[in-house]
């Protein structure tokens, strides 16, 4: 078994000829959702399954993840924290704001927060960032996985409020949550268009990749804010 850091805080552990994506466990000895724990040279890693995480799928699709050990991350659509837990692993000196609007799901997320020192849970609707602008600071990265028809708008209003000028937006777009019948590539094109033009905050797309076979009909996207010319 050997370990290779492929991006800050993200590792590839080789074990018996297989490469396993993993993060360094910030809460050694326990796993979060049944994932495997891997020991190597006195460090413990948590296996990170791309089928259960859009962000992990983006990593395997060679999309550059701009998260550093001291990043401030706003995570929209945290659900019960499967992916948030890995982001938390990547941020020994940073912090992640985890927004989720379902109280039922938040209940599980809070249990994760109790075991971690760097997750700030926020029970709120991500389409209304003013509801949590008194809590969230300016961030380096926004990661969004809300699977909602208005996801482009959600990205724009949050980036407008919280994203630093040189910060990055990472977005997972689910075709079927926008249009259940249309051809996904057409949906993706329209969504990209909206991100580039439709809202006050506009984006420059740096990279995009579909996330199959890990997630069917999903597009992963990395973008930056277009600077306002005046």
């Amino acid at each position: 078994m050997d370990v290779n850091e492929i991006s800050e805080g993200i590792f590839e552990v080789r074990k018996g000829g297989k490469k396993i994506l993993a993060t360094k466990n910030a809460n050694p000895g326990s796993n979060v959702y049944g994932e495997n724990l891997l020991e190597e040279e006195g460090e413990e890693y948590r296996a990170w399954d791309a089928r259960r995480s859009k962000l992990a799928a983006m990593v395997l699709k060679k999309m550059k993840v701009p998260i550093k050990s001291d990043s401030r991350v706003l995570y929209l659509g945290a659900a019960s924290g499967t992916t948030v837990s890995h982001v938390s692993d990547m941020l020994p000196n940073g912090i992640v704001y985890a927004v989720e609007f379902s109280p039922r799901t938040m209940r599980e997320l809070i249990q994760l927060c109790d075991t971690r020192s760097n997750i700030v849970p926020i029970l709120a609707d991500a389409s209304r960032p003013k509801l949590y602008a008194h809590i969230v600071e300016q961030v380096d990265v926004i990661f969004q996985d809300v699977a909602q028809p208005n996801q482009a708008q959600i990205a724009a209003v949050n980036a407008g409020q919280f994203l630093k000028e040189d910060g990055h937006l990472l977005l997972s777009i689910k075709a079927r949550s926008i249009d259940t019948v249309a051809n996904p590539s057409k949906v993706f094109k329209e969504e990209v268009n909206k991100l580039e033009k439709d809202f006050d905050t506009q984006f420059k797309i740096i990279k995009k990749h579909d996330l199959a076979p890990f997630h069917e009909d999903h597009l992963g996207l990395v973008a930056k804010k277009k600077l306002k010319e005046n």
Binding site: V120, H134, I135, Q138
Partner: protein, 337 residues
């Protein structure tokens, strides 16, 4: 201009923050303040960094302290929010769903019992709860006492004998189902109690169980109070349709308020109109329950007046218009007399 942050109130002048009034550095207090309603009106502008100000004005010493305090406060606040979403109407919604779950299960069990016990006592003619109670009380038909109304049938039954090992099994099965019926009754009783406390007006107008179902279907009393009464009138219709398809209920066309005695016990041609009047009063009652929570008996009086008026105005079934057009084989086309 003043803005609110999680750690205090900031006054912003032309060149930045002019004043910082920090809150008490107490996790519980900060958590309560985090949940204030009017944050939106005083929210920091786009691009304003609240962290640097917190450190500059000395609320916290450094980034580490900022992170750990904010984490503690937000976890506390999220827990408070969760416990506050566990309101009485959430209890009622869960209770209503539990009733439906139990119904599904006891239906399956009592159908099984009917088949099984039918081998032994086919003449019994009971189903659902009475059947289940009967079997768990007597077991073999030979135990039915002489004064029991089923005694005759039991002694002359053509069913096969029930060996005692099987009797034990079948009685155990029946008593499990009995417990489910018991549990169903106590859940129903708790719904009645909670509804009277939480939604006295809806209870008065719709009845506690129908009222509870309406709340459950809309996802809460507040949402029910916002629905137009035309929606209230048909709510539950598609659900009834599915139950009907599974052979469990009649009248798939109507919403659940058609189970209210005012509607159900009226002749068919008045039901639609009465249901409309009832739905209007339920909407009104839900708003009363949300806004004041006090009982307003006059809603019921007005409803009864309205119902009596409908009954007086429509004493007879309407004469059915003969459908005109293709496929109708009558001699006279509709319209002439």
């Amino acid at each position: 201009m003043k803005i609110i942050t999680w750690y205090g109130i900031l006054t912003i002048g032309d060149d930045g923050v002019t004043e910082c009034e920090p809150f008490n550095k107490d996790v519980d207090e900060l958590a309560e303040l985090l949940l204030q309603k009017d944050v939106v009106a005083y929210s920091p502008g786009s691009g304003f960094d609240i962290r640097t100000v917190a450190i500059e004005c000395g609320f916290v010493e450094n980034d580490e302290e900022y992170n750990s305090l904010l984490r503690d406060v937000s976890i506390r606040a999220a827990k408070l929010q969760i416990s506050r979403t566990n309101t009485p109407d959430m209890q009622i919604i869960q209770a209503v769903e539990a009733l439906d779950d139990i119904d599904d299960v006891v239906n399956v069990l009592s159908e099984r019992l009917s088949e099984w016990y039918g081998l032994h006592f086919p003449e019994l003619g009971l189903s659902s709860e009475p059947l289940v109670r009967f079997v768990s009380e007597f077991g073999s038909r030979n135990n039915v006492p002489a004064e029991h109304p089923m005694f005759e049938k039991a002694t002359s039954s053509m069913g096969s004998e029930l060996p005692s090992a099987d009797e034990e099994l079948i009685m155990g099965f029946a008593s499990n189902a009995c417990e489910l019926y018991d549990s169903r009754h106590s859940i129903e009783a708790s719904i009645v109690r909670n509804m009277e406390k939480m939604a006295p007006n809806v209870t008065l107008i719709a009845g506690s169980l129908i009222g509870a179902r309406l709340i459950s279907m809309t996802g809460g009393l507040a949402r029910l109070s916002q629905l137009p009464s035309s929606t209230v009138q048909v709510m539950g219709a598609n659900r009834a349709l599915f139950k009907h398809l599974r052979g469990r209920a009649t009248s798939p066309k109507h919403g659940i308020i058609f189970n209210n005695p005012l509607v159900k016990n009226s002749p068919w041609w008045q039901r639609g109109k009465i249901a409309r009047a009832l739905a209007a009063k339920i909407s009104l009652a839900a708003r009363m329950d949300v806004y004041s929570g006090e009982l307003h008996p006059e809603i019921k009086v007005n409803l009864e007046k309205k119902v009596n008026f409908i009954k007086a105005a429509n004493p007879k079934p309407p004469v059915k218009q003969k459908p005109a057009g293709k496929g109708y084989k009558g001699k006279n086309k509709g319209g002439e007399r």
